[in-house]
């Protein structure tokens, strides 16, 4: 699969402070989470991609083309949802979206029609004639998303799109992102809310102090984690422990008298039960152990520091 977006040794300086340090990644999936604590460089990375903060070194490739050669043509293909403000008071929702549509290259009449469509799509159809300063935080975020979609971009950059939203609004925003991904748009979701990434992203880039600490596909990672089980053994624990170890299974004693078992490739739960069946004792409880993204994130941060 062709990479939609790549970063190659991108560094950004703010004065003497290095905000991004030789960031390199490839994005081929269409829902990518950019995860990191505050000040990790997520917003800088997005701005560097849009050339709002030109990289001091390195470059981005969008569908194989160097973005510095594309200029305005690149920004026609990108929709950007900024984190802070970014709305003009005194304008109506539909007026603002249509106006940005025009700046992005749509003729006036189609821009107005398109503004109505995208506002309907994000669920602001009924409040489109209200002035933007009267919108709630959630509505403003949706309005920004509508503005980012008005020119039908291929790549949508969302900078903390769910910040300050209530749970219902947050879910609706995530649903919209997921739906856009289904439409073939590439979504780059920058956030520090792990659950948002967990809910919709298929690829995660963990950023810390301007560096990429980890780059993983959630599906791959989930699959490998799905082989971890916690076993409560009714009988002598060492018996099962040694039996599993002798057969080459990964096994560790855990808290509360449990055993953490890693099923080897090619083996399954059936094999675990048949192995245990030959011993003096029974499996009392079996818990499928899943590592949360939070654990992976914290692990990556610990490694990074």
């Amino acid at each position: 699969m062709q990479n939609v977006l790549s970063a190659q040794d991108v560094s950004v300086y703010y004065g003497k402070t290095k905000a991004l340090k030789e960031v390199t990644f490839d994005i081929s999936d269409n829902t990518v989470g950019l995860l990191g604590p505050n000040g990790a460089g997520k917003t800088t990375l997005i701005k560097a991609l849009l050339n709002l903060v030109p990289p001091s070194s390195g470059h981005f490739l969008f569908k194989g083309e160097n973005t510095s050669n594309l200029g305005a043509a690149l920004r026609e293909k990108i929709g950007y949802v900024p984190e802070k403000e970014g709305l003009r008071s005194g304008m109506t929702g539909v007026g603002w979206v249509a106006f940005l549509g025009e700046i992005s290259g749509l003729p006036r009449r189609p821009a107005i029609e398109r503004a109505h469509d995208v506002l309907q799509y994000v669920g602001l159809g009924e409040s489109r004639y209200r002035e933007v300063q009267t919108y709630s935080t959630g509505m403003q975020q949706r309005l920004k998303l509508a503005a980012a979609l008005v020119h039908d971009p291929e790549l949508v950059l969302l900078d903390e799109p769910t910040a300050g939203m209530d749970p219902g609004g947050r879910q609706e925003m995530l649903d919209l992102c997921q739906d856009l991904a289904k439409q073939g748009k590439t979504i780059l979701l920058s956030t520090h809310i792990l659950k948002d990434v967990e809910a919709i992203c298929t690829q995660v880039i963990i950023l810390h102090q301007g560096e990429v600490l980890s780059h993983l596909g959630i599906e791959d990672w989930s699959r490998s984690e799905s082989r971890h089980y916690l076993v409560q053994w009714h009988g002598e624990r060492e018996l099962l422990f040694h039996a599993l170890e002798d057969h080459g299974w990964g096994v560790n004693p855990s808290e509360n008298g449990l055993l953490r078992v890693v099923i080897p490739p090619g083996k399954g739960l059936k094999d675990l039960f048949s192995l245990a069946g030959g011993l003096d004792g029974t499996i009392h409880r079996l818990v499928h152990e899943r590592t949360t993204l939070e654990e992976v994130f914290l692990q990556a941060l610990r490694k990074g520091t």
Partner: protein, 290 residues
């Protein structure tokens, strides 16, 4: 029902040329003012000298009967020529209105976008910094030309229409090109100066206040310094005095200020260059967004 029940549809229609993307931005800077009654009143008041001094005398000479306006009184009316237009352009009322409109419209042009963080939204689209600055300048330019060139053209239409003398235009062609030159040179530099000032801060009010101080009090400072030193260089503190002198030079009439044409050209040239340098530094590597 999911909120995206309508479904997402791609846009397959036409797109405008990238060169024209600044036009909507300029339009959206102008439109809000056209909805403000006080601003429309201000523009109407700005046109008063053009009506009273420009159209009035010609109307009295040509349209009133002898019983109301004896032809012997015509000599007391100023003739329509370059001198009269220079008087209209440089009279204190026109200058006051020019300052108010410049401060009102100009001070927030860039500062407001920084304050509301809409600048990164605009520059994050297919719009370059040069187009952005151009659109802002053009918006202010429309208002400034609206109180000089447009009323001038209306005055000339009335002049020709009321007198029936088309050759007037040919004999006084300097009125047209002189005012055009004044508008491009003087207002062009003034607009760049205002944009540069607006680009330095985030608060439109601060930019407006500084602009008021420079435009209003600069003239007083220059006059005080002139009476003490008698050196023409002191007029550089007064953009208003320089503008008045430039208008007179462009229209070929004597000016009340001891400012030579070379001094005027240098002043506005340096002002434009300095402002462009500030704007370039602010927008170079997008420093203005930080």
């Amino acid at each position: 029902m999911p909120i995206y029940d309508q479904g997402y549809e791609s846009y397959t229609g036409a797109r405008t040329s990238r060169r024209r993307r600044w036009i909507p931005l300029m339009r959206e800077e102008i439109l809000p003012y056209t909805k403000k009654r006080i601003f429309i009143l201000l523009i109407a008041l700005t046109l008063l000298p053009w009506v009273i001094m420009g159209i009035g005398p010609t109307f009295l000479r040509t349209q009133m009967g002898n019983e109301y306006w004896p032809s012997s009184m015509n000599s007391q009316l100023p003739p329509m020529d370059e001198k009269l237009i220079a008087r209209i352009l440089t009279n204190p009322w026109t200058i006051l209105m020019l300052v108010i409109i410049s401060v009102w419209v100009g001070s927030g042009l860039i500062a407001r976008d920084r304050k509301e963080r809409t600048m990164e939204v605009f520059l994050g689209r297919a719009l370059g910094p040069a187009q952005y600055i151009w659109s802002k300048g053009a918006a202010l330019g429309v208002f400034l030309l609206g109180i000089t060139l447009i009323p001038l053209i209306i005055v000339l239409i009335f002049q020709v229409g009321l007198t029936g003398n088309v050759s007037f235009l040919w004999h006084h062609i300097r009125i047209l090109w002189g005012t055009l030159l004044y508008s491009i040179g003087g207002f062009g530099a003034l607009i760049l100066f205002i944009l540069a000032l607006s680009a330095l801060g985030e608060n439109p009010r601060v930019a407006g206040l500084i602009l008021v101080l420079i435009l209003f009090f600069g003239l007083s400072v220059s006059k005080i310094l002139w009476f003490n030193t008698h050196k023409p260089i002191v007029w550089i503190f007064s953009p208003i005095g320089e503008l008045q002198a430039l208008a007179c030079h462009c229209l070929g009439v004597s000016t009340e200020y001891p400012i030579s044409i070379l001094h005027s050209v240098t002043f506005f040239g340096v002002m434009a260059l300095l402002s462009l340098t500030i704007l370039s530094l602010r927008f170079y590597r997008r420093e203005i967004l930080r």
